[in-house]
Symmetry: C2
Subunit: 334 residues, 2 copies
DNA sequence: ACAGCGTGCGTAAACGATTACTTAGCTTTA
DNA sequence: TAAAGCTAAGTAATCGTTTACGCACGCTGT
């Protein structure tokens, strides 16, 4: 039916007896066209089932109205949900401004990520919002000449716009709360310390301890792979050192911890209290429901997109760096 | 530093003292170029920090190497994870074939979805893989002249390629298992019956009952909004009719059910057994761990992408429709 | 010695839009 | 009535590639 092959603005122009310029201006509303002519053009477009070729358009206008979001969206259940919420925030802003969102996955691997950036090439996107998988990498040489906004994480020595969570501060809140409830042996369970986020969370943990006059006990600090199994095993070894509370900076690892304690009849929170990162619906249905730190994922995306659009508007505006607050949600696990 | 503004193949050609054709052929390996010339060109590209303009390329070659995936990826935690797994599958295949994945969200709303399809325009993508939010809609007129593959769901009267889950069959398995364990009053808890998937799951439920000589009890069939709260409330009213088991076709609703029973000290599985759709890591840490139906989400994506690439290769190949099997994972909740 | 062929590369026309510059025709103004 | 101005729309260059042709040169065989 709708044979759409190769119908160009030229065909429409011929069919409507006007010039291509006029057709273009009707489509874009970029200059006055008399009502009569406008009607003729519209009718022609309808009859030919014309569809604008966005590729040609962006070649000429040097605008694609596409913003890419590069993050470890497919890496795990946790980061998946977190970054998809960020994506939702981005999308909500972009949509209002007629921009498209292109999601790319970095797999949380540097090489994979670099390859994705290369594939974006030049001109395909008007901007890149990314959560870098490494803080050591020098990304600058890979980027095209579009603006870049970092979200959730920032590489070292970056002088780009950024929107992140105030991890240190909310982590400190969480640990302080545990201390207020009488805990003195608070374990730290986390993934490897390679991301700025993780580092900040650890800093918050230490700060709370130190301000309460508690010394850091190396035996209670435990980092490992981010996975359920890893969380399970690390919890097992942690418990040998008799913590009364566990502060887990990763959701999946917290699951492992909960699973271990459930299987070994360790009462939460009576024997061991638990506070973990990331609010999910399921954290309300564990036994007991989990006390968690909720990150403003959606807002992170909203802000990042807003910053991006402003940057596109004005390349010379001053650096725009933002830090959003997390929120402690107290439930029965502590 | 890396001033990349406006470096085109022409600049490279001039700088290397060759023609643009040669540069293009070096980049794409599309015809023999002597080692010497090749080196010259490469060096020039390096020195100028040349980056191919993918927009111009796809304008000319009529190929964008972008496949769009349109699904309700941001709609809820459940569909989010499910469709992101599908996306991961798609991505894994596309990447091997040098294609890009562009994720678009349909918000599970028809108008939103249509708008997204329109925005894709023509020529921007080489193909569209989608999970339609409605089976009634006539999407055909909206599509450009790219191939379309439906995944997970298929609209009525579609004669497009498709890849879906055999929902009826695995749902039947699950209910049969409950029956074998002696259950006779099995409740059905589900979202609204507007998707083919939901419909198929209900059919499987009914079929298992009927083959076991059990009559459908309307009081035990309960559909409502897909949300934790809704699951919670519907479970409350369901329990008035004394089911001994609940079959939940949605993950979030199952969470609501679990939460209600937990809060009201209803023992699972002793008083009420539970079987629910969708395997997540957290289903292993509830008390007790949940028996679930695992959908082959990743494989769904893989297959869909394969089908897409074949279709792109050969527009006239016969219709390619696939049905993948789900898997029942039995844990302590039943 | 020259027709014929293979090799390596250059020339220039697309692809389908946007848009700076013109232009034709009409109205106003002095 | 002629110059100036205004209105609506047309002409054609341009964005950066790909690719169908064509060409020059050197080698081969007779």
């Amino acid at each position: 039916m709708s044979e759409n092959k190769n119908i160009s603005i030229k065909d429409v122009a011929k069919h409507a007896n006007v010039s291509t310029a006029t057709v273009s201006h009707v489509i874009n509303g970029t200059r006055f066209v008399s009502e009569d002519t406008k009607q003729k053009v519209m009718r022609a477009m309808d009859e030919l089932n014309y569809r604008v070729n966005v590729v040609a358009r962006s070649l000429r206008s040097r605008k694609s109205y596409v913003i890419a979001f590069l993050a470890p969206i497919l890496a795990s259940e946790t980061s998946n949900h977190f970054f998809m919420s960020v994506a939702a925030g981005i999308q909500s802003v972009l949509k209002q401004n007629q921009y498209h969102l292109m999601l790319s996955d970095s797999h949380e691997e540097e090489e994979f990520e670099k390859e994705e950036i290369r594939m974006l090439g030049s001109q395909m996107i008007d901007g890149l919002i990314m959560a870098p998988s490494s803080r050591e990498t020098d990304y600058e040489q890979l980027f095209g000449d579009y603006p870049v906004v970092y979200v959730d994480r920032v590489p070292n020595n970056s002088d780009r716009d950024s929107v992140v969570v105030d991890n240190r501060s909310v982590s400190k809140d969480a640990v302080e709360m545990l201390i207020r409830r009488g805990h003195k042996r608070i374990a730290y369970l986390s993934g490897p310390n390679t991301l700025t986020t993780t580092e900040e969370r650890f800093a918050g943990y230490l700060e709370a301890l130190s301000e309460a006059g508690l010394a850091e006990d190396k035996e209670l600090v435990c980092t490992g792979e981010v996975s359920l199994d890893s969380g399970y095993k690390l919890t097992e070894s942690l418990l040998a050192h008799k913590p009364t509370a566990i502060f887990a900076t990763d959701n999946v690892m917290a699951m492992g911890a909960m699973m271990y304690m459930q299987e070994n009849q360790i009462k939460v929170p009576d024997q061991v209290a638990v506070v973990a990162y990331d609010e999910f619906q399921w954290t309300r249905v564990t036994t007991p429901p989990l006390t968690v730190i909720e990150q403003p994922a959606f807002d992170l995306g909203v802000k990042a997109a807003e910053v991006m659009l402003e940057r596109i508007d004005n390349a010379d505006a001053p650096l725009s760096q933002h830090r959003l607050s997390g929120k402690l949600i107290v439930r029965q696990s502590c």
